[in-house]
């Protein structure tokens, strides 16, 4: 168990973290690259930046969206995401680990906040899972992985909470810690290849949607030629 734990904490952590970081960086760069290419080819380079930025901020900090068309779902989703983002990054124990490994540290969440956020992430993650099952439209759209994601995502939160709180035996502690780390590492690896990639692509969404309507000029001819339709009547 101890060796497994060391393996998970050491080399495996570095490997999976690198896969995540590089993977996310790759799709982020590809996305920006695609956007730049599209902009270069666009016949109309007049982009309403202000509007796109406003919409982007609106979705990154969806305060107003929460009271829109699906208040319950929105609120659940927002609360879920809040914990999901804040806890892993600002948890005292995590920051300490970073500090010891890299010398870098940053502000941390007060312990009680971290606890509440952890619990809320678990609860709201489950709520989202059951919501997906219960709402007719959502379950119709969902693929297997759509159900799986909220469940996978809360595993490190549950195990982390257990490690930090429950009076488990040292062996139990090591067991939960192992699950905690491995599940987090699984998430790392999957991140760049699944829809959770939205964690880095989200800020680009509104820009992409705006830019997508900026078509390149003079495509009638090449498309017609490629499809053997040059001179063919409408």
């Amino acid at each position: 168990m101890q060796t497994l734990l060391e393996l998970a904490q050491g080399p495996l952590f570095r490997l999976t973290f690198a896969i995540m970081a590089l993977g996310l960086l790759r799709i982020f760069i590809l996305d920006i690259w695609g956007a730049i290419e599209a902009y270069r080819k666009a016949g109309d380079k007049n982009i309403p930046w202000k509007q796109a930025i406003k919409k982007t901020l609106g979705w990154l900090f969806p305060v107003r969206k929460a009271f829109g068309s699906r208040p319950v779902y929105s609120l659940l989703s927002i609360l879920f995401h809040t914990g999901l983002i804040l806890v892993p990054i600002f948890l005292f124990a995590h920051v300490e680990l970073w500090k010891s490994g890299t010398g870098l540290g940053w502000i941390t969440l007060p312990k009680s906040w971290a606890d509440y956020l952890t619990l809320s992430t678990i609860i709201f993650g489950l709520a989202l899972f059951f919501g997906r099952i219960a709402v007719r439209a959502a379950s119709f759209l969902s693929r297997k992985q759509d159900y799986l994601w909220p469940l996978i995502l809360i595993v490190p939160f549950i195990t982390g909470y257990i490690c930090a709180h429950a009076g488990v035996t040292p062996a139990g502690y090591r067991f939960y810690m192992l699950i905690h780390i491995l599940s987090a590492e699984l998430i790392f690896v999957l991140l760049p290849f699944t829809k959770i990639a939205h964690c880095v692509l989200m800020p680009l969404s509104q820009l992409v949607a705006t830019l997508a309507w900026r078509f390149p000029p003079d495509t009638d001819e090449p498309v017609a030629i490629s499809l053997n339709k040059k001179g063919v009547p409408v």
Binding site: L30, D31, D146, S205, T219
Partner: protein, 474 residues
Amino acid sequence: MNKNRATEEERTRALKPTKKPEVMERQRLPVRYHVEDYDVADRPRRFLEAFAVILRHSNYRFALEHFIRMSAKCSRCSVQCQVYLASGDLKDIPCYRSELLLGVYRRHFTMGGMLKGRVLGDSGLTDEMIEEMAESFWNCTACRRCSIECPAGIDHGLITHLGRYILSEIGIAPRALVVSVREQLEGKTGNTSAIPVPALLDTLEFLQDDMRETKGVEIEFPLDVEGCDYVFFPAVSDYLMEADTLMGIAAVFAATGDSWTTGTGYFDGINYGLFYSDRMLERIVKKVHAEAERLKGKNILIGECGHASRSAKYFVPTYCGGEKALPVINIMEYTYGALTEGRFRLDPNIVTEKVAYHDPCNIARQGWIIDQPREILKAFCKNYVEMEPHGENNICCGGGGGTVSIDEIRPYRTTIAGKVKAEQIRGSGCKYLVAPCANCKKQLRELVEDQKIDCEVVGLHDLIYKAIILENKN
């Protein structure tokens, strides 16, 4: 019971096939709109070929790449779609519709998809999938209301647009649209309503006479005048059906004295290319710009028409030289400017009935023109009421995306696609419904008729024409 949901009887009526069984058999296309006979052999391969060519020569790819990575399947968009709200059919959920095409893209144009297809032995695009797309993309009005609500920024209007483009390249596009575009681009008259120039002259003369009689003033429709400030392109159908709109516009110009003209070389603002093929879109946009240049005009002025305005506003810069292209404005912007500058006056005692304003998606969805028409109306209509939601968030008339011109699907448009709008209009209790869009007008008139709502659908300038105070200069 949700009043937006169509009743069982309405659904049956709306979805009844309108084509002869033998035609469906021959074309292998179980959809309600008419299609010209096309090559049915090997459809999936030809679809993919067209898709590939379009991807190569367009900007869609980067957006599709982004969308397939983002799609959260949260069903948030379902709350916004007036088609889904009315039909209750899960296949009308915007995200489901988009996935039809995104799935094909993922499977055939991404590395992962191709590998997965190989490993799982999934043969990919099938005839049935093409049939489903052909049905689904024309059930959507491409109003883009759903995209406001998509956290992932997925623009279902864009995907529908692309899907129709690909389908049209293999011969699947509503005949109603194709025939109009054919006349516009290759016909003798060069416009969608097939109005020859002599008939146009007659109409304008008739309008001038009418104005002299009813308003007692000489109002002109200038033709082929070079160097004007504004070269005017209404939806050409207005010359046949919207006399009051045109007279209202002429009256405003008579009052302001600005120079404007219609060109006899080309006078149609309609662009059905926007609804099914980027190639046609481009060709038509270029015609508009070329005519304005021929007349050495300073601005392209589009009449009361949503999609005509959008196709000119957003695609003249695209296809005609970016910033060097002529500026495009909509008549409502012009009229609003003139009114606020005090260049004409409106009598507040003429229109006393309840008036509501319908935002055409193509004009309002991007926040382009929302307040101006309202300000104009409030300036002289005592009894202005607002429908909720409105503006950028408006509900489509139900005939968007070109579906309005497909007469054979009228039952679908007025019992499903326009159902939510109908309830909205009923709820407002308006007597006049102002819809500054040729397409919206047609659809809304059919809608209030079929849904038995007591309300008259008019253009903005129809009401202006009633109330404008003209000084008789003679």
